[in-house]
Amino acid sequence: MTLLSLSAVAKRFSNGTQALRDLSFTVAPGEFVSLLGPSGCGKSTALRLAANLLAPDSGAITFPTGKPEIGFVFQEPTLMPWADALANARLPLDLQNAPRGQANDRAASALARVGLAGFERALPRELSGGMRMRVSLARALVARPKLLLLDEPFAALDEITRAQLGDDLLRLWREDGLTILFVTHSVSESAFLSQRVLVMTPRPGTITADIALDTDLARTRDGRLSPATIEAQRAISAALNGAGALV
């Protein structure tokens, strides 16, 4: 079974930069896949192509089982500064012209699920960086997506907040049976969170390694430091080294 498939995708930007070359991979339903690579290797471009926010120059992006509802989380929280947390989380439903009362209920429960119950009326400027990112996550979940695309969502956060949000993301993934494509440049993050890590080379980006991780890895409190996670980090680092990304 395949939910998302990219085959031989190439993308060149108008300034002439070849961002992606011959990029192919698939994502199965329910999988948690990380797309890992150094800055500027085209990971974000690949994610935007998957969301149909960009069109490829050649190659195909397909959804064999039908186009799923997609949630997208950017590196920045990307909230509307004039709107409170509830209105921000509600945006996808508002755009679908969902009835206001029902939309409010769903947005409130999405906020509660990311730990922001009681902050419905707070404006983005009144929230911390981590909380803003949680609002962004609630907004991505509110339309009940099958596929969640995350573009280095925790890169701008401190390590403690990043770990908490990682735990929360895993919980949501399990509870909702989500399929997640997670773009990151953090080896440890990808090793802890995902079932599969796709390692990308620098520009023009293409996949050099497809590393399956121990899916039964007990992701307990000290899961980040478990021998299996450390071993996964070693394997991912080796693949990155092979790709010429690490010095």
């Binding site: 935007r48 926010l53 500064p81 508002d94």
Partner: protein, 271 residues
Amino acid sequence: MTQSDQNKVSMRRAPDILFPLVLAALLLGAWEGAIHYWQVPHYVLPAPSAIAHALCANFGSLMESLGSTLAVTLQAFAASTILGVATAIAFTQSRLIERTLYPYAVILQVTPVVAIAPLILIWVGFERINLALVIVATIVAFFPILAGATLGLKSADFNLLDLARLHGASRLQILWRIRLPTALPYLLSGMKTAGGLALIGAVVAEFVAGSGTATGLAWRIVESGNRLEIATLFAALALLAFTGVMIFAALSLLEWTLLRRWHESALGEAT
């Protein structure tokens, strides 16, 4: 914010009002004293007391003139706001429209309005003098609204726009939910400039319209000057300045009311 905090804030801000008032009292006192000391003729420079007297003596007619000028100003301000925002929306919806129209907007802006006012008066006709005045003042006030609204509408967060498209937003939804709220601070800044310009435009238009047809404060200034009633001229001038300040204050209040909760420019005052 607690009550005592609020008191502290108003205490801190009291000098903003008090100090200019003290300066005004000192300057007016010096002016009054100088006029009496050097026996300056009233048709060259009247004393503040004489101006106050002229204001009281002609209060009814001056208020009527003020009403006339104010009506032109407000109509022109409303027209320029509506036209400016509408044009800015058209610009952001189509590059073709922007490329085609923008040079004309600039030409309209850089051409001295005094030079085209006589033409407008002739074309519109002296029997519809009020409309002509409003058109002249609208042209003067239009550009800052257009510039502010265009910049604001284009300043929307690209990622937010992408997100909206991902969720199937229509152009109208993007305009209403993302572009217009983003543009609001820029638009309000343009409106503050345009408010003052609408008044200037109304005054210029009245000057050009000349005798007998216009009844606003600018005409009172011309008339008082011709009759050497300099105290009345000053009274009309003071009313114009007061009107300009009030327009600015009203728009600043509107800006603060709309932005104080979320925009950086207004947060300094709220917290």
